[in-house]
Structure formats: structure tokens, C-alpha cells
Symmetry: C2
Subunit: 419 residues, 2 copies
């Protein structure tokens, strides 16, 4: 093997991450868009996991996904199918996809399609269901499934037609740049991004949707949900992270994702191997009637935002988020400042007005994480630990240090640079 230059590899990786330009080009069925998607395959958040080891909310979402697909009529039938080996599981990330919280994505679900116009790679994410009792938080009652069907049959086609009629699709990087100047951090606070998204779609929907009542309902659904844009943003981040993946000799983290039981990372220079460890417990604010005793472990692919330098890394842009995740505006500022310690660059497109327009910290170098003992900051929603309940709060969490230690050892072994 040639002698590797880690600094140079990392500079290349982070440059590809920043130069990626994810464009939201369409909406379509997962089975049509995602290569090798199968009818009995359920994609989920985080690293690989078996049914037995799944957390409550992940199990609930899987059951809901099976019912949504009409593979089973109820919870009992769904579980017997799973236990009979009729259902396959795989991480979204292994199918160019990402999903918030449980991340459950099934074959007939309508999903967003993103193309990185710089490098041509694609990424996908399901549609955001809004707040309340929703599949991604492990709820699967009849009304949850009914809403998913409405989204699939009524909302998705309207957005699909709107995007199909647009000249250039929606530039997610540009939308995020703007949203970061409007108090978002792009993960847990996507309020500005979601109304920017709604305002961009509105003229297209008004023009191309024949049914004015449906057009109005879809616009209301998008406008009322401060997380409307989270899923296209996550797919956009996935496209950026993937652009930086597979760079020989790079120690940059290109995936960080949680399934509620384990958190897994992947490293640019180490191919598709997962490094996993136990998830942390978010610390934050709980909705009335819930406490930390109700909380599931950390879950979701939404940490793809932190992976590309926003979310917990851009909290200085979003002082108002502390009303949702706890802490003070100064804590939010400190969170961003700390992340400069473990990253290799400052983002050339994502800037923070309050820090004199400094670029967000981007490109987590696992060497720095281990050397300094500082793990990435994550903003996150908090799911109830039991299947079928839903969201109970929002807060902050960190990945286990062990995944960075293990990946660094593996890196050294792989490149033969162990002393």
C-alpha cells in the first residue's frame, strides 16, 4: 500500500462534502426509486439490528410498517410474520436512504429523491408525518396508519407533480444556508426551512394541482409542520456525506446513526464497515406528563445533519432552540464552539451570523475525537421507550466514545500504521 496522507485525504473528503449540491428532484415509490428495494424488506434507522434487540419505538414502527404494507392485519400477525422469518431488515443507510427516529421505510412508501448535482450520487428519505402520535416514534394505531395512507395517496402525488413541474428542483444546500440565517440549526429546529420549503412549493402546487381542496390541505399540512423539510434535508445531508465517503486514507466520519439500541458510525477511509456501541440517553425537556423514565435510547438517522456540520454543530445559529431542548443561548453557542475542536474545516456554504458569519464546524476527524475526548453533539427528539406511544420530549445527547476508539484502531490496522 502507498503511504497515506491523512491530512490530504481528509481535506479532499470534507471538500467533497461541502461541494456536494443536493437537489430535491422528485417524489416516488420506494420500490421504484431505491435500488434492490423488496416488498418484504423494512429499512430502519441506525446500524443493523435484529428484531429481538430492537427498542420499543423501533418495534412499534416495524409493526406499523408491516400493517401499512398490508402484509399483516394487526400487531399479532405482524409479529408472527417477523418471527417466522418472512420479513427482512436492513439499515436505511445501506440503501442510500435515511429516516428520522425509527426511520422505517417500506416498499410502497412514497419517498423524496435527492440528486447531488456535483457528483451525481442519489439519496432518499420518507415523508415527514408531523408531530403527535406518528410511526417514526413507534406509534402504529389505526389513525397513524390512516394518516400514512393519506400522505402516500394524497400528499405525495401533489408534491411529486409540483417538483416535476419545477425547472431545477429545490436546492437543499441553498435552503439550509438561508435557514441557518433564520434561527434554524437544521436538525431539531427546521422551522424556517419548513416554511421556506412550503413557500417554494406553494406556487407550483397552486398551479399544478387540479383539486383546490387537496392543494389547500397539502399546503396546510406542510405549513403547519415545523419539520416538513427535515426529511428532504436529511436526504440532502446523506447525499453530502456520501460524496465524502470512500476516500482512501480519510479519518472523516461519514455516517452516524442510531437504531434506539446501538449507535453506529462509518468512516470515509474504511468502506462500509459499521462501528457500533450502546446508544446514550438524551437529556432534555419532556412534554407534560412524561419524564426521563419514559425515554427510549437515542434513535434515528437524523444525526446525518451533525455528520455534515449542522444540527448540534450549528446550534449557535439557533438560540431559540433552547426552549425546546433545554439550556441557555450561551450553551447553544458553546456547543458550536466545542465542535470546532473535533472537525477539520469550516463550512463554506453554512455560516453563522452570530459568529461573524464563521462557517459551521464540518468534517468530524475520529483522531481528534479520541485525542481530545470530545464526542459529537447531537440534537434529538426523544421517543417513548414503549412501542405505540410516540414522542415525549427533545434534548441533547452524545455518541459513545467506544465507536470512535474502535474505528481508529481499525483504521490503524487497515492502513498498517500501528506502531
Amino acid at each position: 500500500m502507498d503511504k497515506i496522507n491523512i491530512e490530504k485525504s481528509n481535506a479532499l473528503a470534507v471538500d467533497k462534502m461541502m461541494s456536494a449540491r443536493p437537489i430535491l428532484v422528485g417524489v416516488g415509490r420506494a420500490s421504484d426509486l431505491i435500488p434492490n428495494m423488496q416488498a418484504n424488506l423494512i429499512l430502519h434507522a441506525g446500524p443493523p439490528i435484529t428484531w429481538e434487540k430492537m427498542s420499543g419505538p423501533m418495534k412499534g414502527a416495524v409493526i406499523g410498517g408491516i400493517i401499512f404494507e398490508n402484509l399483516a392485519k394487526n400487531e399479532e400477525d405482524a409479529i408472527s410474520m417477523i418471527e417466522g422469518g418472512e420479513i427482512e431488515f436492513a439499515p436505511c443507510h445501506e440503501f442510500d436512504s435515511v429516516g428520522p427516529m425509527a426511520g422505517v421505510t417500506t416498499a410502497s412508501m412514497q419517498i423524496y429523491e435527492i440528486v447531488n448535482s456535483t457528483d451525481g450520487n442519489k439519496a432518499y428519505s420518507n415523508l415527514n408525518e408531523g408531530y403527535g402520535k406518528v410511526l417514526r416514534y413507534g406509534a402504529y394505531s389505526e389513525d397513524v396508519i390512516k394518516k400514512l395512507r393519506w400522505m402516500n395517496e394524497e400528499v405525495a402525488p401533489v408534491i411529486a407533480d409540483a417538483l416535476a413541474s419545477s425547472d431545477h428542483g429545490i436546492d437543499i444546500r441553498q435552503l439550509l444556508s438561508e435557514a441557518l440565517h433564520m434561527g434554524d440549526e437544521g436538525h431539531n429546529r427546521n422551522k424556517a426551512g419548513s416554511i421556506l420549503y412550503t413557500a417554494k412549493l406553494a406556487p407550483l402546487i397552486a398551479k399544478h394541482c387540479d383539486n383546490s381542496s387537496i392543494a389547500s390541505d397539502v399546503l396546510q399540512f406542510l405549513a403547519d409542520n415545523a419539520l416538513s423539510v427535515l426529511n428532504p434535508v436529511m436526504a440532502g445531508c446523506k447525499a453530502m456525506a456520501d460524496a465524502a465517503h470512500g476516500i482512501e486514507g480519510s479519518t472523516i466520519m461519514t455516517v452516524m446513526a442510531r437504531n434506539g439500541t446501538e449507535l453506529g458510525v462509518r468512516i470515509s477511509g474504511l468502506g462500509d464497515r459499521w462501528f457500533t456501541g450502546p446508544v446514550g440517553q438524551p437529556v432534555g425537556l419532556y412534554f407534560p406528563g412524561f419524564t426521563s423514565d419514559d425515554a427510549s435510547g437515542d434513535i434515528g438517522d437524523s444525526t446525518i445533519t451533525e455528520t455534515v456540520g449542522i444540527g448540534g454543530f450549528a446550534m449557535a445559529s439557533a438560540p431559540a432552540i433552547v426552549t425546546f431542548v433545554s439550556g441557555t443561548p450561551q450553551d447553544a453557542l458553546n456547543a458550536t464552539m466545542e465542535m470546532y475542536e473535533i472537525t477539520v474545516s469550516e463550512h463554506k456554504h453554512f455560516t453563522i451570523p452570530a459568529l461573524d458569519f464563521r462557517g459551521t464546524p464540518v468534517g468530524v476527524d475520529i483522531r481528534k475525537v479520541v485525542e481530545l475526548g470530545i464526542t459529537p453533539r447531537i440534537n434529538t427528539g426523544i421517543a417513548h421507550k414503549d412501542a405505540g406511544v410516540g414522542q415525549v420530549g427533545a434534548g441533547l445527547v452524545r455518541p459513545p466514545m467506544s465507536v470512535f476508539e474502535e474505528s481508529l484502531v481499525a483504521f490503524a490496522e487497515h492502513y498498517g500504521i500501528l506502531d
Copy 2:
């Protein structure tokens, strides 16, 4: 006369200012909505002024207003009508109205109607034309008039129908509270407010506008203009300021407005008397090809935002605005901090995340202005000094100290408290 208690009067005035709840309820013709509006009456920004003393952009907008009303065919005819005494002029403020920059509002123009649901008082403002060559900056060429007619005949009815179909109208105070957490200051940066406004109207427009092409055009016009919401916001601020006006013994400023030649203020406890002085010259950033030599003096009623505690007073909420008006994010923070010195309260509804959610400085006490020698901060657009050109930049300016000195002397005389 009873002995007055200025502190108590001011507390009452600022409480009424903060408790006012301006709701955007409709759009209609100025002649139908504004009491005593006349066909030959042109409302303008700032304090009273004669044709002879008007600045270039004000003259240009007046000529355009006369042509828009079909009272004259061209500039020459318009001027001869004015010189023949056929046209009347009055400040918007004297007709419950406000208009940005030249503020020209004529009888057949479609205008926004605001009701303060707390006290019942009403306020009005014209529609925002967007950027470029526009009437409010003194441009009056054929394309300017054509756009105004399109707005009057196509845009306004669509918004009117949407608002008429809405259950409660649009709560402007609530929209502003949200926008201040999204990087707006509500005067020169209304980016978040404008897309919030668009997103609120979109479902209503999609549902109630029969013509999908027009619905789409209107939504595109609203979404593309980062100042769409400025005019309803200004009318909302006018309704808040008016609620605080006329409080016996109060030294709170309830109007601050500029006509390009003079700036005028009104004081809560001094009735409808104007105190005027020469306008300042904004300092800021100029569009390519223009310099401060091209600038008109300070102009517009948009300082109604500063009057109620936003705009230049809330710059700490809007660090990104410095790319538009000059300075650094620290300057923006300092601007807000300075305004706490001359105000009597902190706003209970408008808060600044970056200052630990401290309320914006609200209620300018003319005693403090004079005593401390600190005049209010104003964010503003900059018009070209000649009629017919348009906007040349944006920046910061202050009113002349003389208007506060004069009003304070008048206050002392009026209340017989001169030593």
C-alpha cells in the same frame, strides 16, 4: 389641571402599545376603507409637506400616484395639476395609515386593513411592490404603473378573498414574535415574516382562487419578495402605536415618520401636533453603481416599527442584517442595548433569543432621549435623490435631536411644569 404622573402615564401608554393585538382582517380600496379619503387626495409618508419642498423620490411617487389614478396621462400633466392646486396632500398618519418610503397612497389603491382586537382601532397600509424600480422609491415609468395595476387588479383581490375566508385573519403580533426568533428585526429584514405570511396565505389562496395560474403568480410574488409582509407589519405597528397615543401626561413617542425632507414625531400626551426637523442622511451599503452622493434624505413611515420596539431596536435578533445595512453582528447587538437606555419597558411579546429572551426595548421616552443625548436607531432603505430612479441601498440613520428637544419643551409648556 390635575397634577400629572408622567411615570404612570408612560406605563399605561406602553402597556397599551404592548397589549394591542393587530389582526390583518382584509384588503379593500382606500376610498372604501379610509375615512374621508378623497379622489384628489394623495397620502404620503412623514409629516405634512408641500409640493415645493418635497424630495425627488417623493415627487416621483406623487407623479406616479396621479398617473395611476388616471387623473393625468403623464408627468407634465400631473405637475400642472399639482401646480394648479387640483391635488391635495396629507400625511398617511393623519388618515390612520402608513406607507414605506414615499408612502404614496391614492383613493383607488387596494390597501391592507388591520384591526387592533384589544382596543378596536384600525390602521391601513398599501401593498408592497417588491424590489427594483417601484413607486415607493420614486419611480413612475410605465412598467412601474403597470405593475401597480396588476397588483391592484389581480394580486389584491386574491389576498382579499383569502383573508375573507380565514376564520380569524392573520395575527400580526404573533407573526412578528415568531419572525424575531427567526432572524428578522421586522423593518429592513422581514425575510422570515414574509415567508410566514406566504405560508399562512397559501392554503387559503389555493382553496379560494378559481384561477390556478393567477393563484400561482400571486404566491410566487409573495414568496419571492422578502418584504411582502412589511406593509401589513407597518399597519400592525401603527395600530399598536395608536393604542398608546393620547394618554394624558405621557412622554412616549407614538409616531416617528419621514417625508424625505423632514422627520416628524408625535408624543402620546401632546395630541396630534407634529414636531419636525431636517431628516438625516442614512449611512449604509450601496447597490453596485451607486454612492452616498446619490442618496435621498431619510424617508418613509416604516419607522413606525422602531416606534413600537422592533426594527432598529430589535437588531440583536437579526445579526444577518449587517450584510444589508453594514456593520458587524456586534454592532447589531449594541444597537439594541443602546435603545434600552431611552425606553421605558421591555416588550412582553417581542423577545430576543440571543439576549436570553429579553424583551425588545419599547416605548421611547422623549425625556430620556434629551437627557442622555441618545436618539432612536433607525434601519432604512435608501432611495435615489432624483425622481424616477428607485432604491440605491440600505443603512442606518437617526432622527434629529431637535425634534425631541422641541417636543419636550412643548410638553413642559402644555402641562405647565416649566420651572
